[in-house]
């Protein structure tokens, strides 16, 4: 039997529920300088001073003056120095908590600490909302439930002096197990309520404190060399799920934006006309990106990026915001899509929110088509006028005349004669010529820029495209993860008979093998972070409908590949689940009945007992039937006579084996119960 000091357990739990939100606030940067250190020192010091009751030697008035002074100072700081009100409030809560920890004496004051810790936890949501908050929240619920139960137990012992004895009260194993189990049930119920309770806020109250990720290379003017800066950045920017299976092609080029104008060092977008046409999801893009076959759905989730661009997978057929189940017509994640003259797609959703959206992707098709819109002449802009560049281009192109052949030859030429490297060469006056004639090595931007300019030199409309290439499968979360480090540049060239086609002239590079354990750990963390953001922080009505639809799919799946087909109920699962529930309920009822089987005589007494309980008179565990009935009779003069009669009959029959008419007993007990039920609740 585990025995523990109840007081000690309570102290440990109390400090745990205080330190959890304090740790969150510290992790979120909500504690400034000296306040952070002072708070932590004060909290730890209070542990020792409370043991020696030192805090009680300071009068309550002194504590009140201290707190009032701090409030005044905080108000002054907030308004005079433009300090954030929220931060000031958090500091004040910390001070109040520390003061209460020092000065706690009564149960009321200890309960105030519970309340203060909860307010601190709520305040922490304003400064931190990532996965760490979820973990700490779960721990807080467990510790808080357990702590409140222990608090109540202590109170009961204090209020019943005859139960209190000099040795410290002890917590037995069964009781501790029940308390821990109850805490777990409370946490599980809270989670269930969280997921089921209707989200009527439409996500408007989603935290606005997530800053969009800064993306190098995705602004409207990009200098050569930017991608190399993010090469090793493992931060995930995009997560992709394949509900209808992966595309047939293996190279994933996630297109963000393209450029037309190169000034010798930087790419810019110069086409101002006809910018940002509204893009409806039903408008197929196969006239821009030639493709064939049935498009497959890709469910995308983009992290907040510091740009309005929306990554798509080449060749995208169509695109739509939202999830397959619902697209919110209003709300922070509702928005419009636009496409410009560069075929870049932008959204109007705020940049500090993650965006779920869908794209349909088919297979690339380079066969000739009818009615291909001509490309803008801007994509023939050529800044390099050197003869050697022109000669080299001719050499690379060889005898090819068709755009596809030209592109293929240029690709082969660059891959064969130039080396990929992530070492950033110094950007000289003419980076492309340095790359071609001096260094003969570079990263993707050099290859893509050179290929674009060579294609233009050969008379083919071409543009450089910035985006991401590849990614990695996260087997923990079952999604494809694209990181900042996957940033890449490639080329799109125009074939008048086909449309825009893709060209990636950068030679493949060998990536170092990642440590398997660290890789798994990173994937697990990323999957957890996604789940946290998706299902907690940004859990809105659309996500809730998703959950309910998924549940419906389990119990009544729709035939796949047929969106219009009606759902067919999976009777096996439904009936099986119902059967399990019924059998469980029946078994429980039988067990209860067997456990508490009473004869009519005892049932009569139990009925009176329950009616008395409802009226406010509880029988103690060690209070015998005679004493209880007498006590009840003394509280209810109107039924004292029938109660005494019942007592005599009941006790005689129960313990004296007297031959008593059970009907008479039941009649008397019914009369008593009727009277007790007529009383107001807790009136005795």
């Amino acid at each position: 039997m585990i025995q523990a000091n109840l007081e000690r357990i309570f102290d440990w739990v109390l400090y745990t529920i205080v330190l959890l939100p304090v740790a969150l606030i510290a992790a979120g940067g909500g504690m400034i300088g000296g306040i952070a250190a002072a708070s932590l020192v004060a909290i730890f010091a209070s542990w020792f001073t409370h043991k020696r009751k030192l805090g009680h030697q300071i009068k309550q008035k002194t504590w009140d003056i201290l707190v009032a002074s701090y409030v005044v100072v905080t108000v002054i700081i907030v308004f005079a120095f433009d300090f954030a009100i929220l931060d000031g409030a958090i500091q004040l809560l910390l001070v109040l908590t520390c003061v209460r920890l020092f000065s706690r004496l009564s149960m009321r004051e200890e309960f105030q600490i519970f309340i203060l810790s909860f307010i601190l936890l709520a305040a922490a949501t304003t400064i931190i909302e990532d996965l760490l908050y979820g973990v700490v929240f779960g721990l807080y619920v467990l510790a808080g439930t357990f702590g409140l139960a222990v608090f109540h137990l202590r109170n009961e012992l204090m209020e019943r002096p005859r139960l209190a004895f000099r040795s410290p009260p002890r917590l037995e194993r069964p009781y501790a197990v029940v308390l821990i189990g109850t805490s777990g049930i409370v946490l599980a119920t809270s989670l269930l309520l969280f997921f089921v309770f209707p989200r009527v806020g439409l996500g408007f109250f989603a935290p606005q404190s997530r800053d969009g990720m800064s993306m190098v290379g995705f602004s409207e003017s990009v200098e050569l060399g930017g991608h190399g800066l993010v090469r090793d950045n493992p931060q995930v920017v995009l997560r992709v799920e394949f509900p209808e299976g992966r595309p047939s092609f293996s190279q994933y080029h996630w297109r963000m934006l393209s450029f037309d104008h190169y000034d010798g060092k930087a790419w810019t977008q110069t086409l101002q006309d006809e910018r940002k046409h509204p893009l409806h999801w039903r408008r197929p893009l196969d006239d821009i990106y030639p493709q064939k076959g049935e498009p497959k759905l890709l469910q995308m989730y983009m992290e907040p990026l510091d740009t309005a661009l929306l990554p798509t997978l080449f060749p995208t057929h169509s695109i739509k915001l939202g999830t397959p189940n619902i697209t919110m017509p209003i709300g922070p994640r509702s928005g419009r899509l636009t496409m410009d003259a560069y075929s870049d797609i932008r959204h109007s959703v705020p940049s500090n929110l993650g965006i779920p959206y869908m794209i349909w992707v088919a297979e690339p098709d380079d066969s000739p088509r009818e009615k291909v819109e001509a490309a803008n002449p801007a994509f023939l802009q050529q800044p390099i006028e050197s003869q050697r560049f022109a000669d080299l281009t001719r050499q690379a192109v060889s005898n090819a005349t068709a755009p596809k052949a030209i592109a293929r030859n240029i690709e082969e030429f660059l891959e064969s004669n130039y080396t990929y490297t992530t070492d950033l060469p110094e950007v000289g006056e003419s980076p492309v010529e340095d790359f071609l004639f001096t260094t003969r090595r570079g990263h993707c931007e050099y290859f893509a820029t050179t290929a674009t300019l060579m294609l233009r030199e050969a008379g083919v409309h071409a543009r450089i495209v910035n985006g991401f290439y590849g990614g990695q499968w996260n087997n923990v979360g079952d999604y494809w993860a694209v990181r900042q480090g996957d940033a890449h540049s490639w080329v799109e060239y125009f074939d008048p008979d086909v449309g825009w086609l893709k060209l990636d002239p950068t030679p493949p590079s060998t990536m170092p093998q990642a440590n398997a354990f660290l890789d798994t750990l990173r994937k697990t963390m990323d999957a957890s972070r996604l789940a946290w953001t998706k299902w907690v922080i940004e859990y809105d009505l659309s996500a809730q409908i998703d959950v309910l639809r998924s549940a419906a799919d389990t119990f009544a799946p729709k035939p796949s590949n047929d969106r219009d087909a009606k759902r067919e109920f999976n009777w096996t699962i439904i009936l099986g689940s119902l059967g399990v529930v019924l059998v469980g309920a029946l078994g429980f009822a039988l067990w209860r009945r067997r456990k508490t089987q009473l004869d009519p005589l005892q049932s009569a007494f139990v009925a009176i007992e329950e009616a008395a309980k409802r009226a406010g008179l509880n029988r103690r565990i060690d209070e015998g039937p005679s004493e209880f009935l007498e006590r009840l009779a003394s509280r209810g003069p109107k039924i004292s006579a029938p109660l005494r009669k019942f007592k005599a009959l009941y006790l005689g029959a129960r313990y004296g084996n007297l031959d008593v008419d059970i009907n008479q007993i039941q009649m008397v007990s019914e009369h008593i119960i009727k009277y007790l039920k007529s009383l107001k609740k807790d009136s005795l």
Partner: protein, 313 residues
Amino acid sequence: MNKPSSHARLQQVLAHVDTVFKGKPELVTLTLACLLSRGHVLLEDVPGVGKTTLALALAKTLGLDFRRVQFTSDLLPSDILGVSVFSQDKSEFSFRPGPIFSNLVLADEINRTTPRTQSALLEAMSERRVSVDNDTHALPDPFLVIATQNPLELYGTYPLPESQLDRFLMRLSVGTPSREVEIGLLTSRTSSAPVDTLKALLSPEEFRAFQDEVDSVQFNETVAQYVLDVVEATRRDPRVKIGVSTRGALALAHACRAWAFLDDRAFVVPDDARRLIVPCLAHRLSLNGVANAEKAHSESVMEDIASKVKIPT
């Protein structure tokens, strides 16, 4: 149901005792219940609260032969039990019974005498006979002992060992009377002891008959289960070194019968057991070192244990 006359007679006894021993009806009832169940009583309290008065009042009212023995440190066993004396006339030894040969013996301040003398009395209490010089002499029937002990004055005393306390069916505390009772005593007491005015309402034969009637009171198995639950709880409690023995459980059962009899019932109810747990069982607990060091009282420990045991309805 008991013969109406038995309950009524006993109520008369209680009322009669109450005329001289005022303000403690429950104590008198407990003591009478103990005597009816053929048990001996240990009254533990400070001097001057009426222990002797109670014993004497009961003895007189019940019509029992009464002897008072003042235990001192030089008291010998023979002073209690009796002694064989050589008769010159008859040239043989004859036994002169000691004060123990009475129906009701008041062993006053039993803790003042030596353990040897205590043992002689306690052995006689359990055996209900006396062996002197290889002769065994039966004690009268009924034979009951009311012993007294001052729990506070330990200097020069020999407190009864815990194992010997088991001989007493109940250990009771008298307590000081209420202020109203004391005022009544002060204003009404004359030079003659009021106990002298008491009449015998019963005879030893009648009292024996009542004792036999008590034996026939029904003790239900449900109540027996409850008694054993309490006893087992004492054996499991971490504060208790040695819990209540089977003898203690039997003693409680006997006392319950008497208590029910006094309440004019032919059967015991769980409430009877609950009421008598502390008087019958508390002095049978042997507390462990920690509890003793913290000066825990066995009554409070016993009450605490009993309060946690679920009572049947």
